[in-house]
Symmetry: C2
Subunit: 441 residues, 2 copies
Amino acid sequence: MTSASFLSDFHAVAAIGATPNNGVDRQAATAEDALTRDWFAVWVQEAGWELRVDSIGNMFALLEWTPGAPFVIIGSHLDSQPLGGRFDGAYGVIAALHAARRISADVDAGGELPRFNLAVVNWFNEEGGRFAPSIMGSSVYAGLLSRDQMLAVTDLQGTSVSEALEGIGYLGTAEAPAAAGYAEIHIEQGRILEREGISIGVVDSSWYTQKLDIEVLGEQSHTGATAMADRHDALVAASRIILMVHDVTEEFADEALVSSVGQLTLEPNSPIVVARRVHLIADLRSGDPEVVKAARAKLIGDIDALARKYDIKVNVKDFDIRPIRRFPQEGLELAEQVAAGLGLSSRRIQTMAGHDSVAMNTVAPSVMLFIPSVDGVSHCEREFTTDEDMVLGLDMLTGVTRELISGALANSATGSSDAVNSALPGADAENAAALPGAVRA
Amino acid sequence: MTSASFLSDFHAVAAIGATPNNGVDRQAATAEDALTRDWFAVWVQEAGWELRVDSIGNMFALLEWTPGAPFVIIGSHLDSQPLGGRFDGAYGVIAALHAARRISADVDAGGELPRFNLAVVNWFNEEGGRFAPSIMGSSVYAGLLSRDQMLAVTDLQGTSVSEALEGIGYLGTAEAPAAAGYAEIHIEQGRILEREGISIGVVDSSWYTQKLDIEVLGEQSHTGATAMADRHDALVAASRIILMVHDVTEEFADEALVSSVGQLTLEPNSPIVVARRVHLIADLRSGDPEVVKAARAKLIGDIDALARKYDIKVNVKDFDIRPIRRFPQEGLELAEQVAAGLGLSSRRIQTMAGHDSVAMNTVAPSVMLFIPSVDGVSHCEREFTTDEDMVLGLDMLTGVTRELISGALANSATGSSDAVNSALPGADAENAAALPGAVRA
């Protein structure tokens, strides 16, 4: 089957919210996000499928062959990070639309009637750059996050999710379809497939991750008139903590741990005032839970010592603890068989990033697929995957979807999670209990 | 003369924009700033004096005994830092109103007709927390900054000075009075007077200061999926620079140099994205220009080495270079005589902070006075000065003002400035020329 219309659609969507260096800026529920949603709605209407928008802004295109039967759902998200890449999320949605159209054409041409119906989804706010937490729409669908709480979340300007969705006309009222299975395809965002020359990654599990919410409290004073010895500068202390979070990775094997501080708020943020408060979010991730726990313990101890040494108060809270989540074994084997049938090389792979599939895997047997990322870069304008790899991935998703709607995983369990030890020890840390089942990236 | 009405006025103004811990939040041209302006206008109206508001929002109360004669101007500013102290600026304006009322009463009671008229001023935007640069209203008055450029300055929300002033009804059209002299009283914001038990500081000069505008450019990437070795994290590099700016003070004698970073902007500021850009402002101040120049040279070199080591781009620009400015010798001697006449102890002192008087001193002979600050703290809620010290300062300002309107400094020159070497050397630095005569804190 020709892939020209798929590539044409992909590059058309990449032009929506395009940035000067080949990226896109389509944060959740902005005008640019609305344009991709309109594109999705028009595409679905032209295909003759039913469109539903639920009350957290998820968009579903329904192909209902057997009234009353549950749906296999395939898709991803069209929103992006600020100055993000054009592949992350959008590739998965557009591939899903085209996979569904291929399958629909086969059924219409007199093929076997599938056991399950099929839906293509564009999940709301996977990225979480504007509204935290990320993976919002699929987590609400899966019952991991409260719809009402998420509708009340506000961005830095004070606009709520419900106001923003209403403002762009995508706060729907429809019921979401029930899921019998889920499949998603995405760029790897790492360089393993590229390095090994492999076409398809079959995701077997997600990394163990946690965040630390760190509040540094100094004393506001005049930058000119306050003696250095009299200062309690929250930004100087925060800078030491940012370097601790970075350097702690050196305590472990190369790349066994990744850590970062990506968000920081400074008060009062005036050029001639010593800062009184810095709030920052640290992110720790590893394939091995013990590595994250050891890094966290070292950081808690070092931050405590720093607070004592400089007479600064630091509040540290654990949050967003995500256990290792495993995709069902039957799904892995199914994907490997489909790849082999198409003559595509594949390997099992872990995901360091969060995805909508990780949330969906808690309510329906799910298959998560990767295609290669050039240089492994993501969440930036120079994110890149070749047309050829995208087309191979579309064939792969189509094949897996055919199996899923035929009932290949009908008797499989959903994914499993390792236990989280929510009683983490720590001198200064206030332990926020891990939300049961919460999946956030 | 009783000081009860002065203290009552001072504490009434401290209630406008009051914060929970005894501070105030009255940033320039906000609703809270408007309330103190209304208070000033009503007070002046009740005193029977003429009120003028000029086209950069400076408010002048005129006591015109001799039509056509120039004015001695006294006052300070009613705006504050966010969560600032209730003494900084407000004390000087309210003391000036009461000094003027005492003198007016004497003249009305048949005292000698002064040589000069008298005006009390509330300068616009001394603090610069919302609209940069600081010391805006008095610098426009003195011709050091362009009125049109300042009206176009915007805050972080994109509101311009002219829109903000118009919004609160204080974008005036009146001509400001011509100045024959200037006096201002302010809290010290340091601990020298308190430590030595002295009532009045007579400011002889301002510190040498400069700012560095530092832009750190890394590469945006995914915090979870990007290997540590592949990152170019702008926030990690910025943290190292913040510590360099802090630690450079240790290269010099104790407290010979103060340095700080009070403002920082992070992009994209998302918890799961490695930062691509950090913009920060460093502030260097010393009584000795050579110390600032040596610190700057060390920082330029260290930042250059850091950029090379971590493959990050850093742009550094010099700006806001302020030479040491000296108040006229005759004014210092006059203030010392007035203090001695009142039985008050005094000493000469430098100011590390900028003040409206530093701008005014370029166009009229000016006298700058300090009263003690408890613990030396300022630009924070626990800024404090006793009622007793405030009343002694009011007596002092009244005495100095009497001499100024009698013509004591009529033949004095304005203050003088040391030369600024605007051709600063520096590998990575783009040297923005120092604005001729610009005075900004």
